[in-house]
């Protein structure tokens, strides 16, 4: 019988699976794991945060506020705000934190609660203020975040994501550098519930300190609805449901019988600052 050379017909060395199918399964699986780990560690953050000691928090704070503390020059504005925060804290909002106020030059109408009791107030916010009560509400709102330790939760999830990506992809990966670039002081995000709680805390503090809640919601009302979210930051950008927050505060004030009184004018140091702008 004569031998005739012939091709084998099938290629045994290459798997017939379609590469896109392979990709979908692997990428989907990896994504599911990352999401799962992120959620699980997110829950872990909620467990850890209340147990985190003040000492440890101060150590962690170094990474975020190092810059602020270095460029510290206590001017009259800062001193005046510090005084207001101290007065609020003294009688009505006793927190286990020593709050240090930092005033930062920026157009952002915003304030931020950083770890270690460092509260950052932007000059853009001060320029919008018309009464001490209004300012006190904003500061008390930040104190509320400290009271519930939301500022740690806000950072915690970012840290968790960084941890997860480092474990899976190794240090110095694109996810980490993206987070690093994205971590701006004003971008600590809080959930709707956390904001509500801070609002309630601020309302109670305001009533306790002044005996009435005048101007508690005036700040919200002042911001135009179509305002640039970048400028209005933490109070407004993450909250398209501003009206809900206002009515929530008004309902609460009515329910608890908080009266409205006459708001105090801004302290002189802050007014000159405002006019200078």
């Amino acid at each position: 019988m004569k031998f005739t050379a012939r091709q084998p017909g099938i290629n045994v060395n290459v798997s017939p699976t379609h590469p896109l199918k392979d990709f979908a399964i692997l990428a989907g699986g990896l994504l599911a794991i990352v999401v799962g780990v992120y959620l699980a560690l997110g829950l872990a953050v909620d467990l850890i945060v209340p147990r985190l000691s003040m000492d440890l928090e101060k150590k962690l704070a170094g990474a975020f506020v190092g810059r602020l503390v270095e460029t510290e020059e206590v001017d009259t504005t800062t001193r005046s705000l510090q005084g207001l925060v101290d007065r609020l804290q003294d009688r009505c909002a006793p927190l286990p934190y020593i709050i240090t106020v930092h005033v930062t030059e920026s157009d952002a109408v915003n304030a931020a609660a950083l770890p270690g009791g460092h509260m950052v107030v932007f000059t853009g916010l001060l320029a919008e203020m018309t009464s001490e009560n209004e300012l006190a509400f904003v500061l008390a709102h930040e104190l509320g975040h400290y009271a519930n330790r939301d500022h740690l939760r806000g950072l915690g999830r970012a840290l968790v994501l960084m941890t997860a990506s480092t474990v899976l992809l190794g240090a110095d990966n694109t996810v980490n550098s993206m987070i690093g670039q994205g971590m701006v002081l004003t971008e600590l995000s809080f959930s709707r519930k956390q904001e509500s709680q801070a609002d309630e805390f601020a309302l109670e503090t305001l009533f306790c300190h002044y005996g009435h809640v005048a101007d508690a919601t005036s700040f919200f009302n002042k911001i135009p609805e179509d305002g640039d979210p970048g400028r209005f930051g933490h109070y407004f950008a993450s909250h398209p449901e501003n009206r809900r927050r206002i009515s929530h505060l008004e309902d609460l004030a009515q329910e608890r019988g908080y009266p409205t009184g006459n708001p105090l004018p801004l302290p002189a140091e802050l007014t000159t600052k405002t006019n200078a702008h």
């Binding site: 290459v14 699976t17 590469p19």
Partner: protein, 149 residues
């Protein structure tokens, strides 16, 4: 965001161009394999041919370097996480080895048989910093015998 867009475009480009090149290459391989099907290529060290009948015996070799595309590399790195068959690299090796064999046959010209054939595979540019160039070379070599009729 920009990073993500760049990544996805590279992925799409890698998939499109890679698939196109691979299909073309396989078509060409199949054609040339059919054309050269009557030149036997064996791994035997010797064949049962009387010595005086062998007109020439010479070394023939062929080598081919095939590059991985972006899509295949990402797919393989995903595979690195879970383990298992790295299917995306299988076709690269297959193409490189068959191409090397074909080139070896081409070098052999009108030989009767190629004996003692070996195939070597090596990765190229493996250690160039963090950016893997990701090429692989397959080399086939053997002894081409031309036998008197």
């Amino acid at each position: 965001m920009i990073d993500l867009i760049i990544f996805l475009s590279l992925l799409a480009l890698g998939y499109g161009a890679g698939t196109w090149a691979e299909k073309r290459h396989y078509r060409s391989i199949a054609e040339r394999e059919n054309a050269a099907i009557n030149l036997p290529v064996v791994t035997l060290k010797s064949v049962d041919i009387p010595e005086h009948k062998i007109r020439s015996a010479k070394l023939v070799y062929g080598s081919a370097v095939i590059s991985v595309d972006y899509f295949k590399r990402i797919l393989a790195s995903l595979r690195n996480v879970f383990g298992g068959k790295v299917k995306s690299y299988e076709s690269l090796l297959d193409r490189a080895r068959r191409e090397a064999l074909l080139r070896m046959k081409e070098m052999a010209g009108n030989a009767t048989v190629i004996v003692n054939v070996r195939i070597e595979t090596s990765a190229i540019g493996k250690q160039s910093k963090r950016k893997n160039i990701g090429c692989l070379e397959a080399m086939a070599y053997g002894t081409a015998l031309t036998v008197e009729e």
